[in-house]
């Protein structure tokens, strides 16, 4: 089997299975289709994560290597957020208040784990030689996006919400922590990643982020335009004739039968 075909069958096909499985599972109402979608996505994820062993010669398999490395800290962060949200005052699915501490612990552990991957010994080294190049893209983009989005949410809370100064300051703190981490990456060398490498990839990730924003906006604009042109081209729907006297009296009879009840005390 040629290398390209192997990469197609053992990496790109499983990667598309994740997206397809997630789509089927989220869009289906029946149990069978939902479970089918979930199983497809899980099989796809396992195959992508094992791609460094199944297709070691393909450069794309370093994405699978990266996913295997980030799955731990990312899950900890997401579990931490889930525990923090639902241990608060929520109307449904409330967790015990003690889970809040567990949530904070999970989030701290996830963040420290990511920092150790950048500056410590947990750096994803691909093929036993170089730092996984997709990690050099992932981490700066993550920090940059957290810094900018937290800043946006902080301002939004002040502008849209009322008396949300405390919540806004928490979001500002998250933005500030991300900025400090970025400055540390730009200034201090890690065990495996130098500050120069981080600087180069950080500014490339800024370009990348703006490129993605422009590209996605363009595709949404085209999508809207296609729908608008189609909707404009179809005829006006036929007007429904006004109700007859019989229909009106029938409707008022129905309404009268359903209005009433015992007056509340």
């Amino acid at each position: 089997m040629s290398e390209i075909l192997k990469a197609l069958l053992l990496f790109w096909l499983p990667l598309s299975m994740i997206a397809l499985g997630a789509w089927v599972s989220l869009s289906s109402k029946g149990n069978f289709r939902t479970n089918f979608g979930r199983i497809t996505a899980i099989i796809g994820l396992l195959m992508v994560c094992s791609s460094p062993w199944t297709v070691p010669s393909s450069p794309s398999s370093s994405i699978g290597h990266l996913i295997g490395f980030i799955i731990g800290p990312s899950s900890l962060l997401l579990i931490g957020i889930y525990l923090l949200i639902f241990s608060g005052s929520v109307p449904v699915g409330k967790l015990p208040t003690s889970d809040r501490n567990l949530g904070i612990f999970c989030m701290t552990l996830g963040s420290v784990w990511f920092c150790l991957m950048q500056w410590g010994v947990f750096t994803p080294i691909y093929d036993g030689e170089d730092v996984n190049r997709f990690w050099l893209i992932f981490f700066p983009t993550l920090l940059l996006m957290v810094a900018s989005l937290s800043s946006v949410l902080s301002i939004s809370m002040l502008v849209i919400g009322e008396e949300r100064q405390t919540e806004s300051s928490v979001m500002r703190s998250i933005s500030l922590i991300s900025m400090v981490l970025i400055i540390c990456g730009l200034t201090f060398d890690g065990k495996n990643i130098s500050s120069d490498t981080f600087t180069t990839y950080f500014w490339l990730s800024v370009s990348d982020l703006f490129g993605i924003l422009v590209g996605i906006s363009l595709s949404i604009f085209i999508f809207g335009l296609v729908i608008y042109i189609y909707e404009k081209s179809i005829d006006e729907p036929k007007s429904v004739p006004p109700p007859t006297i019989d229909e009106l009296s029938q409707a008022s009879q129905k309404i009268a039968n359903n209005i009433g009840g015992v007056e509340s005390e």
Binding site: Y82, L153, M171, W203, S207, F210
Partner: protein, 157 residues
């Protein structure tokens, strides 16, 4: 909300998005005394590749979304053809521009290698952006649910 206030809010939000980047740029330049690590040529190449790839991938995802739209419209063909055309333009533009020469090639030897790298790069960036959105929006909800409980109506007391 008045139109003037909406425009002002949008401006404020745009400034809030750009502020951390500008601050980092200023601090980094001050600490290092110069700004030698920014290669504008590499940045432009990445910017152009990101636009082309995210436009094409975004159009493919939105093409999938047309199935939901078609469910409520007796499955019309016209928007489907329109979106297929939009995706084809994206693919053709990507291949043509990368094939033009070294302008959009980032240390990759061929159009095929650069296209595959672009897809991988965009997928990794999407992962990072999705995780960042989950962290930020989740943290915002966590602060809202863990904050002081508010009394909305006096009669509820």
């Amino acid at each position: 909300m008045s139109e003037v206030k909406q425009t002002l809010n949008l401006k404020l939000i745009s400034i809030a998005f750009l502020l951390p980047i500008v601050l980092i740029w200023v601090i980094d330049s001050s600490l290092k005394g110069d700004f030698s690590n920014l290669d504008t040529s590499d940045s432009f190449t990445r910017f152009a590749n990101a636009i082309l790839t995210s436009y094409t991938l975004g159009s493919i995802i939105l093409l999938g979304n047309l199935f939901f739209y078609a469910d409520s419209r007796k499955r019309p063909l016209a928007p489907l053809i329109g979106m297929v055309l939009a995706v084809s333009i994206g693919v053709a533009a990507t291949l043509a521009l990368i094939g033009m020469g070294p302008m959009l090639l980032e240390a990759n030897g061929s159009v095929m290698a650069q296209t595959v790298y672009n897809m991988g790069h965009t997928i990794v960036s999407f992962l990072a952006i999705s995780l960042a959105v989950a962290i930020c929006v989740g943290s915002m909800f966590a602060t809202l649910t863990n904050g002081k409980k508010r009394i909305i109506f006096q009669e509820e007391e």
